[in-house]
Symmetry: C2
């Protein structure tokens, strides 16, 4: 946290997506962007804009979403950090840190890599402590098979099969740098890294890998689905509440 005054600050935001219609501001629905912009407007006494590295869907969480916020007047980052946290209450939105940045930093356009983690749990009993925090699967899943099948999707591909029909991206071609599947007791975590993602791409991939873990799909079926470039060949889309925006990377700093 720096003492320098600045209009634009880079912030990292943790949020519980459960009560929100998503990151992005919209009419007649609560959003994370709305909470932060309202807090910033109160704090700086005027119109405030906030842009995130990603625009998560309703119910999706963030461990650390990077965003930039433009205030109505120059302030120091310490005041921004404490002020936004105080004013965001009682919404489940926490500003983890803040730093002054130049106007050539843009949380969305300067971002060079986005990381998501998707959490599944194999368990029959309802989740009393972790409700709405993982995708609950009431049968066993083979995490090793999921990790192996996932490797067909790593690299530069046409992901038409794995994007929502509402996706507004001009091209269905994306590069996935890594998909890592790990397990710890009943919990399985799927970590995916890419410069950018298509709409519903992570949830489409995880929903398809779940079918592999359940033994209903073979590894080669994932490869075939990718190569078909056909949305109808995707597995069921995994629910939003298991997904977390984990981190945004900015190579330039």
């Amino acid at each position: 946290v720096s003492g320098a005054l600045s209009i634009r600050h880079r912030i990292e935001v943790e949020y519980n997506g459960t009560p929100f219609a998503g990151w992005q501001r919209q009419e007649n629905a609560n959003s994370v962007q709305h909470v932060i912009e309202d807090a910033g407007a109160q704090l700086s006494g005027g119109k405030t804009h906030c842009y995130g590295a990603g625009r998560t869907d309703a119910g999706v969480h963030a461990l650390a979403m990077t965003a930039h916020i433009d205030l109505a007047k120059p302030m120091d980052s310490w005041a921004v950090l404490n002020g936004l946290n105080a004013l965001a209450r009682p919404h489940p939105v926490a500003i983890l840190n803040a730093a002054p940045v130049d106007e050539d930093f843009h949380a969305r356009f300067s971002c060079t890599e986005r990381r998501y983690v998707y959490r599944l749990i194999r368990r029959r009993a309802p989740l009393a402590l972790e409700a709405k925090r993982l995708w609950q699967i009431p049968y066993d899943l083979d995490a090793k098979a999921m990790g192996k099948a996932a490797q067909h999707l790593v690299g530069h591909h046409d992901f038409t099969t794995f994007r929502s029909v509402q996706c507004q991206s001009k091209s269905p071609v994306k590069s996935i740098s890594e998909i890592l599947v790990t397990e710890d007791g009943p919990v399985i975590e799927v970590r995916i890294r890419a410069q950018s993602f298509l709409h519903n791409q992570v949830r489409s991939i995880v929903g398809t890998l779940e079918r592999v873990g359940a033994g209903r799909w073979q590894s080669g079926d994932v490869k075939d689905a990718l190569e078909a470039k056909d949305r109808s060949r995707c597995g069921p889309v995994a629910p939003a509440h298991g997904l977390y925006f984990e981190k945004a990377i900015y190579d330039a700093g």
Copy 2:
């Protein structure tokens, strides 16, 4: 899960303590015992009683509270497990497993060891994802110093300093088998094992160890406080929402 019919079943229960006035049934307040007994009554068509290994306070959670439930008619454990989980909704109470037991098993009186875990987190930003799940400390704590000081409390002692003035136990003498302090990033966990505990004993101990971690108390101050046998010498009582009933042990089976 056994297919044998039984009136009494041993169950393990996970719950989020946030919405409850505690484990124990009481007038004009919601309790975990109430939720389970109501579900059992609906399931078995008559009066149902449920007793837990411990009676946690308002806001205290459980990872696995052992209890026994006496139904109004003999049922098999599979039906009990699924029926209680279905009927406990939407309360954050999950039955993890169920097994038929004889009438000589009593969740409270047969219990030979109780284990609690208390979770603290060193962090300034509010908790968006883990609100009401850990005790948040906005400064650093020395976990090693806490673990060292805790060893003064292990063993057979008069714990008058570390029990609530409302404690109804006849004797303030208890035996703590182990106190283990571990850290993982910003999170500190304090695990405490004993055959049984006094009212507020774990939270009184953790609140005192926090003072040591903060550097305000020395290890010897904890020893002195114990030996004083004086409630006013205890550190501040740690908040309920960081405490979890972890496990009940039954040596006889």
